[in-house]
Amino acid sequence: MCISGKPSTEGCRLIDQKDKPANATANRGVHRLALILCCMTVALLVAGALVTSNEAGDSVPDWPLSFGRWLIRSNNFIANVRYEYSHRFIAGVVGFITLVLAVWTYFGEQRNWMRRLGLIAFGGVVAQAIIGGMRVWFPEYKALIAVPHALVAQSFFAVAVSMVVFTSRSWWSPREIKTDEKGLPLRTLTGMTVLAVLIQLVLGAGFRHQAFGIAPHIAGAVIVAVLIATTVITVVRRHRDDGYLARPAKFAIALLIIQLGLGIAAYLARLASAGDPQPLEPMISLTVAHLVVGALTLAMMVTLMLRSHQVLAPARQTASDAIESRKVQSAPSGSTV
C-alpha cells in the first residue's frame, strides 16, 4: 500500500519508465508547441484586454476581413485599430498553432483522451473566432457577446495549460501515489477553485464590458480568495514536502496577493479616470495586468488540480487500488495515466 510520506516502491509508481510512449521525441515536440501555444494565448489575452481597455472593440467594423482585406494597409494601422487588428492577427496565429497542435496530437499521441483534448482545443479556438466575429457583426449585443467571449478565452487557456501539463516531463516522471487525507479531498477542492477562478474571470469581463456592476466581481474575489487560501493551506498541511503539489500552490497564493492589489488599483484608477475624455494610463495598464495575472492564477490552479488528480487517491481508496484501476482504464491506449 502506498502512503503519503513513505518511500516509494515499484508498486507505488503511477507513471513508470516502461509506460513512456515509444515516440517520446514526438511528445517533447508536442510539449514545446503546447508551451508556445500557452505563451501566444497569454499574448492574445493581453491584446484582447488592450482592445477592451482602449474601447477599440468596434474600431474595425467588418469581420472576418479588416477594412475589406486580410492584411490592412499601413495607413489604416492607426489609433485604436492597432489594438483591434493586432488582436485579430494574434488570434489567427493562435488558431494556426492550435490546428498544428491538434493534428500533431491526433497522429502522434497514444493517449486517446489527449487526442480528444487537441480536438477540443481546436474546436474552442474556432468557436472563439465565431463569437468574436459575432461581437463585430452585432454591436448592439456587444456586452452580451463579450461575456461568453471571455469565458471561452479563459477556458481555452485552461485547455492549453492542461496540454502543457500532460505532455511535460514532470507528468511522465515516476510519482508516488498518495492517499488523500480524510476531509475535503484536495482533488475536489482544486476543482472547485478552478471553477470559481474561471467564473470570477468571467464576472470581471462582465464588469469591464458593462454587462454587470462591480458587486458580483467583488463578491467573486472574496470567494476566490477564500478558496485559493483554503487550497494552499490544505496543500501545505498535507503535502508540504512534495514540491510537485506545493510549488503551484505557492505560486497561486503569490499571484492571488498580486491580483488583489492589482484589482483594487485598477478599480481606483478606473474611478479616477471616469471623467477623462478617453481611456488613459494608468487605468489601461493596471486593467491589462489584472486580467493577465488572473489568467496566470487560473493556470496555476489548473496545474495543481491536474497534479492532484494524478498523484492523489481518494481517502476511501488505497493508493495501490488506484494504480490498478488507472492502469486498467488506460490499457487500450498503451500508456498509463
Partner: protein
Amino acid sequence: MLKKIGTICTMLMLVTILVAVGCKHSGGGGNSAKPDEGTKPAYASKSDEGTITGKISFDGAAPELKKIDMSQDAYCAGSSGDKTADDLLVADGKLANVFVYIKGGPVDKFSFPTPSDPVVLDQQGCRYHPRVFGIQVNQPFKVTNSDTTTHNIHPSPKTNPEWNKMQAQGAPAIEEKFHRPETLIPVKCNQHPWMKASIGVLAHPYFAVSAKDGTYTIKNVPPGTYTLVFWHETKGEQSQQITIAAKESKTQDVTYKAAATAGATSMQIAPTLLLP
C-alpha cells in the same frame, strides 16, 4: 471544516452569478419602443404658436478642461483646433450643449412634417461638429469626413437599429435615418475614443441646443402645457412644466449645479442592466 468552507464558497459563487444575471434581466434601463407617429393626425397650424427661450446657468466653478491625447494618430495630433474635452463647456457661468425639448401636450397628439434637409455631422480635426444636436424621426442624417484620416461612426441607440460604418478620407457622405424617437443616442468613433457626440431624435421639431452663452430658443410651439426637458451629457436631466398660451413668448431659465452627475455609469456598485 474544509468541506463546509468549500461547499459554502461554491454556493456563494453560484448565488453571485444568479444575482448578477437576475438583476440584469429585472433591472430598468432603456427606452421601450414607441409607436410610429404615422397614425396621428397631422398638425394644422393656427398661426398662434409661441416661443420658449431661456438661459442655462452653471452654479459652481467652471471645471478645468481636460486635455485630449491625440498622439495615437499623427494626423489628429497635428491637426489644428481645440485639443481639450468638450463634454462640459462653461463660459461666464453659462452652460453650452444642453439639449432642450418639449414632451407631452399637443406635440404628442399630432404628427409633424419631416424636413427633407439633412442634419450634417462633420468630422473635422478628429472631433465631431456639432457635439450635441437634434434631428426629427426619418429626417436625413448625413455624416461627412473633412479629415485626412479614417474614422468610424458608431451610434449606440437603444430603440433604433445600431450601426457602425467606416469612413475613409475623401469617402462620400454616409446617409442614414433614425426611425424612432430616442433621447439621446450616443455616437462614438471607436478608432479615436475621445470623439463623442449625442443625437436627440424626436417626432416633432420643438427642440434646441444651448449655445456657448447658454441661451436656447424653441420657436413655433403650439399652445399647450408641456414638460420642458433639459438634458446634458455629464450633468444629467432636469424637467419643468411650462404652459404656452397663444402667441406667447415665455422665458424659462434653468441652473445646473456643479455637483450634479448624469447618474448611472458602469462604475456603480450595484448590479445593473446595461445590456440592450
